[in-house]
Symmetry: C2
Subunit: 346 residues, 2 copies
DNA sequence: CTGTTAGCGCGTTCAA
DNA sequence: TTGAACGCGCTAACAG
């Protein structure tokens, strides 16, 4: 392994001079700098990350954490896209990304704390948040620099989110506009902030149209196709009448398609469906599925930028900026009993 | 920040004793160990990763690299699943995972070399390989510990792969068994080893049935739905007759569905389709798509285990073990003009 | 079984 | 503008 001493020897200077060249100090003669650079080149020298970390007390590494509930969403393109976004920014600013996938929220909390305490990462990007999330509370208590992708329900934290309330409201209004009258809402894990927000959007749409919000029409489902199916079957068995569903995720919407097939309902004539996340394959589903498109890549870039900016000015008082990105309702056949298929995508 | 010295002081021992406790040395009295552990507990002590790395010359971190061509495949669940697999094993063995997503193979090579030279990672898991891949050549030259997910065409390297040749052969034989007579092969980037292997499987199937291998029936496509569509249209314009397609990825197979819709071909009556990767949504595609299921999660666990085992015994001569995992053809309607839909999945 | 000492490779004083 | 000396937190070799 070639060290700073080897370079110094070859260039005929002291190690500290080499260090200055690396740091880009200007208190150095052009000639010396050139000699040092040549020596570095020749020896293929690369500074040892651990030694730098130790001396400067930072790691140039950001941790990205995903917990179990999210892991399921791993089946759609959301997380990969977020990661691609984060990576683009990190790379441009010479940061690395450490990922930590946990099975439970306790494990997630342990892992995050460890990464921070070990000084393995300078900050964290947290990918989902629960109501009263213990991870977030801990991170705040320990004053860990972090950005949340999503929203913290209890207090402002640095975060990047898409406007779930607005999006779910749009989706529901769209169903109403299409003449559906009894819309049910199939939620994911109700402990997640994102679920709560989407549910609120659904409610707001009903209220805006002076329609009653009926708890019977709201149901929580396992985050899977099967879960979506079972939730609707359950509602049906309870005798709740409905002719459309706003599902908190595409997987749940696919469960709704299963439900319709199973009970002989025609989509969109008898039954309208909208989902969330607009996975790339939605246009190919039968029928093509209406869905809310989330800017996943952008969530990643924005989160990373926000975090790195924060780290770059540590003394600056931390304003708990919350960035909100727009989402878009992609209308396809599964929710269109009025418009002709020609006028819509997919 | 609490260091080993603080613990030592509180426990009334020397720093090296604390270090021994951490390392689990047995040359230590039970009583002292208990005192030290209590002090560690009390101070919430966690060893600094950089200092350990520096002293022990390892990082307990594995790099995972993805390059552009793969990034597209990011839209299906393959990479997330691989990562989940890697993560499970890494976590169990106290390793961390650093990810590096590059746009070009040159950039990928740079990033990997840097991670190694900086000593930021102890080894690498490389996610895709090209024919004559410069990254792999470099890693071998520099004697970097790495495992390839895939296969190296030129020489044996530590790798974990699914049997692409066999899988493509199965897929093609299945189409032949279903009575399709003119099967074309739509390949991804022909520079990738995986593309070559799948193409070879296709050829082997034809040869086994004494059918001619016709270069006119083999075409390379952009890795996208649109690319799959254009490739088939191109073949059609060239006057190549065909009634079925073996596509090297589900995305390309979706392009084939588009093609069939566009030219009024019925699937599976007029036109049979099989894809690769069996994305979770394939059962919902219209028609449900036959596809080769890859054990992505297992590829991840096996790759990580292989790498960590190698790192664990560095002096042992490196046998270039190549692990091959089976894949499975999931038959659905898109390729079944003989069997009844009841007898098949999806 | 335990303490002392000397690095690991780099950044950063303080002098010169 | 440059070099010498020390410290970052931990491990390991050597004494005892």
């Amino acid at each position: 392994m070639t060290t700073i001493k080897d370079v110094a020897k070859l260039a005929g200077v002291s190690p500290s001079t080499v260090s200055r060249v690396i740091a880009g100090s200007n208190r150095i003669s052009a000639e010396t700098r050139a000699r040092v650079l040549r020596a570095m080149e020749e020896l293929n020298y690369v500074p040892n990350a651990a030694a730098r970390s130790l001396a400067r007390a930072n790691s140039w590494t950001i941790g990205f954490t995903i917990a179990r509930q999210a892991e399921q969403a791993f089946s759609n393109a959301f997380f990969p896209e977020v990661m691609r976004g984060m990576s683009t920014v990190a790379q441009a600013r010479n940061y690395n990304i450490l990922i930590s996938i946990s099975r439970t929220i306790e494990e997630e909390r342990e892992k995050c704390l460890q990464l921070i305490r070990e000084r393995r990462v300078d900050g964290l990007i947290v990918s989902t948040s629960r109501i009263n999330d213990p991870l977030i509370r801990t991170l705040l208590e320990e004053d860990v620099p972090f950005v949340l992708i999503g929203r913290c329900a209890e207090r402002p934290v640095l975060s990047v989110n898409n406007d779930n309330v607005q999006a779910a409201k749009m989706a529901t209004l769209h169903l109403l506009d299409q003449g559906y009258e009894n819309i049910v809402f199939v939620s994911g894990d109700s402990g997640l902030v994102v679920s709560r927000d989407r549910l609120n959007g659904y409610k707001q749409a009903l209220i805006e149209r002076d329609l009653p919000v009926d708890q019977m029409r709201i149901i929580e489902a396992d985050f899977s196709i099967e879960g979506g199916f079972r939730a609707l079957r359950e509602l049906r068995e309870r005798g709740v009448p409905f002719d459309a569903v706003c599902a908190a995720d595409d997987l749940l919407a696919l469960g709704a398609i299963r439900f319709a097939e199973h009970f002989g309902l025609r989509i969109p004539e008898d039954f309208g469906i909208v989902g969330f996340n607009d996975s790339p394959l939605m246009p190919f589903i039968h029928p093509p599925l209406t869905s809310v498109r989330i800017l996943a890549y952008e969530l990643g870039t924005e989160a990373m930028e926000l975090l790195l900016d924060t780290l770059a000015s540590p003394n600056k008082p931390r304003t708990m900026k919350e960035i909100i990105l727009p989402s878009e309702l992609i209308v396809r056949r599964s929710s269109c009993r009025l418009k002709t298929p020609d006028s819509i995508r997919g």
